[in-house]
Structures are given as C-alpha cells and as structure tokens.
Symmetry: C2
Subunit: 254 residues, 2 copies
C-alpha cells in the first residue's frame, strides 16, 4: 500500500486516477480555493453547514501547504482539478500551478472516502465499492444555511445498508464529524425531495435490495453546487472523486 | 425565573449586572465584534481554536440580531460592553448603539456559564458559585493556533472538583463542545505554565481542598487577550461576566 506522500508525489509527477481506495486509512479531502474577497463568506458557509462542509484545514492566501500534509503542494498534488469562472466549469487540468493566484484561500473539506474506509473495516458492505461504480448522489430540496454570496441546496450521497446494520452505521459515522458525520436521513427519499432513487443526479445508481434501507449522507459535492450557484468570478476545486490525500489517519479528529 | 428575552429587555432598558445564574438553563455567549476587514482572520482563529472560541453564532455586517435570539439587538441587549481601539480598552458602556459601525461582524462564542449550569444540575459542587466569587482564570504558556493578525496564548479557568467526580465532569463537558467542551487539563498547573494557583490572573482564587483536583477549561477570556495582542484599530466585546443570553437551551447543539 502506498503512503499519502507517495500518492501525492505520483500525482505531482503527472499521473491521474480517482483516489478511491488509495492510501487506505488516511483522510481524504475536497478542495475549494476562492479569492480572499470571498473567503470570509465561504468559511462562514462551511461553519454554518458542517455536515456537507466539515473543515479539515484552511490554508491562507499566498500559501499552498496544508498543516495536515507537511511538504505537500495543493497546486500539483491532486490527480485532477476543476477551474471555475463566473460559476462555469472552464477546465479540468491535472495541475493548476499556472492558474493559481496569490489571493486564493484554500479550504480542505472532509470526504466520504474517509468514513467508507471505517465502515468497511467494521464489516459493513458498501455496494458501489463491490461493483466498482461511483456512489449515487442526489440534489435535494433541503436548503443549506446561506452565508454572504453562497447559498444552495444540500446534495446527498446514498448507500444501501442492511437494516440490521443501520444502527452501527449511525453510531460509527456520528463519531466522524470531520467526514460528514451521522447520516442526514434514513429511509424515505421523498423526505429529501428525491423523486426516483434509480436516477441519481451524479454517480451511479445502486439497487436497494430486500432487507436493505437507503441511508443518506451530506455530500462534498454540495460546495461545488453552491459555487456554481454563486457565480463568483474565479475558483479552483478538485475534480469529483479526485481528492487530496492527507497525512491524517481516518479516525483522527482535525 | 426570568426568560432570556426578559433578561435582554431589562438590559436594553438600562439595568446592568453579571449574567451568572440569570435565565438558568439557557446558553450564554461571549461577544466579539470586529470590522469586516478582520472578520475572516477572526473566524479562522475561532475555527482553529474551538476550545476557547466555540462558535455559537455569527452575525454578518449590517445586522445585529443573531439567529439564536430572534428579536434581540446585540448593540443594547448585553448588560455591559467593552470598546477597544488599537488594542486598548477605551470604554465600558452599557449600550454601544452610538459606537456601532456598519462594517462590524459579530461573533457569539460559547461560555462557561452554560456548562456550569449543567454540572450543578448533575450534583457537581462548584466552589465559586457557593462563595459568590468569580471563577479563577490564568494565563498559560500554551499558544493558540494563530490566524492572520490574531495570535496569543490560551487563557484557562480552574474549578476544584472532588476527585471522585472528575470522570463525570469530563464526560458531561465532552458532550458540550459549544461551551468549551472537555477540560484541557486535569491536575498539574505547571503543565500549563501556571506558577501559583493562589494568584489567578483574572477572577478570584479558589482553594483546592484535600480530596479535590484542579480542573482546567479553555476560557472565553482568550479572545479578548488575543484582540489586545493584535492591536486591530477597533473592536467591541462584552464586559467579562456580562454575557449575551440566548434563547437556546444549555444542552442544545448550535
């Protein structure tokens, strides 16, 4: 198994792939970098919406090395990035050194890859990992708490869980607030405004088999939705599934 | 017993006293209001130092009514304020309507009055409440994590706890992260750089009797120390012990 610094070095030297299953046992993180003029609003949005946007680290303007990964470079060490202008996705490069600006403040936000590792270690089966697909994700009708220019609805991920293990899942995830925490809903998709589980808005549909219950978590796609909605002039994020791998163990509080 | 809104109304109409024991069972909060240009740095300081600065609410520039107390006015509803210029305390008025600025962002931070209420309800004796004194507080040599212009050492409060109840105290307070959370240290004052328990830096000394252990919590005086150290041009805070009383129950998460 590769260490987090080996994984980051491979991306820095040009390779690219999803980070699912990489450097197992270490926290992974969503990246959102916004100009300093919008940094207060985004930090406040994250504080007000800790389930979709749990703050793992904040790197101030003019810097690109987070405290959760000494020696790393946020401009090169992710496998794929997204560059946003006026709310539009304009590029998906493997390196953003050229696009980086001195006024960018970087936010690392917790990721479901972290809690999936802990659930699997506890013997909870996760279908999308077994089938090799991406997790199913849905837009909801539940508004986030707005902050300044940032507002929008919560995005959730869904995993079918055997009914007898739902209590374990809730207990385990409640102890991982830096990785989205406890599920936001168990059971009824309609309660979140989801019309059809078979048609996710992002990722791949997952069958809910007899004896299983759909369990919904706040999702790290939420901030990208909010970013698009805000139409701020410039931002850089990771590409979905292509996360920043930190040196912090999955079960360690920030 | 008065309700939170009755307590706030009495301060709005000019009365002033410490809020210790007022509107028992409701969360109280420290107030720190800084100009928008310093708001990102202060919010990040609070995020990085959740033990001394647990965020209960943030009120954006141009507003003075927090979500935790609909109808309240942060400019009039505290019993006493402090006005700071260039890091110096320049006034302690009972109303700051005249000093308020449109660019002030207000932070409400959790307060030990909240967890003291819960401890007393659990039958834990607290000496300073029995004697009618103020809790003992100490400067430590433990640095806070800095953020932008804000840096400084942690301030702690100390309460002597019967040795047999220390486990209960840690368990109860761990569940109240919005009120400073678990103690930061139990037992040895020297571990925090405190030379003499009998000489607190703020508040009144409390005897540690035989069979008792000194227990130390991160303290809401920390941000005022940090504010003084930063020497930013302008800020408004509550006066120590003269807190904002919210409508939120003491045991309710923000």
């Amino acid at each position: 198994m590769s260490t987090p610094s080996e994984v980051r070095a491979s991306f820095r030297s040009g390779s690219s792939r999803t980070t699912a299953g990489l450097a197992d046992g270490f926290q992974q993180a969503n990246l959102v970098a916004v100009p300093a003029e919008h940094a207060f609003d985004f930090l406040l949005f994250a504080v007000r919406n800790p389930a979709p946007c749990p703050i793992v680290d904040v790197v101030e303007a003019g810097r690109w090395t987070p405290s959760v990964a000494p020696g790393a470079d946020l401009r090169t060490d992710l496998p794929a990035y997204r560059v946003w202008r006026d709310g539009d996705l304009v590029a998906e490069p493997g390196d953003v050194t050229g696009a980086w600006r001195d006024d960018l403040v970087s936010f690392l936000l917790g990721c479901s890859f972290t809690f999936e590792h802990v659930l699997v270690a506890a013997g909870i089966p996760l279908r999308h990992l077994a089938t090799g697909g991406n997790v199913a994700m849905y837009d909801t009708t539940r508004p986030c708490r707005p902050a300044g220019v940032f507002s929008g609805n919560l995005v959730v991920s869904m995993r079918p869980i055997p009914a007898g293990r739902v209590d374990d899942v809730v207990r385990i995830c409640s102890a991982l607030p830096w990785a989205h925490g406890a599920p936001v809903h168990v059971g009824d998709p309609a309660a979140l405004g989801i019309a059809d589980l078979a048609r996710p808005d992002y990722g791949d549909a997952a069958e809910v088999a007899p004896g299983e219950v759909p369990v919904f978590w706040a999702c790290g796609v939420t901030p990208q939705n909010v970013l698009r909605h805000s139409r701020i002039p410039f931002a850089i994020t990771h590409a979905p599934g292509h996360m920043f791998v930190t040196d912090r163990p999955a079960d360690a509080a920030p």
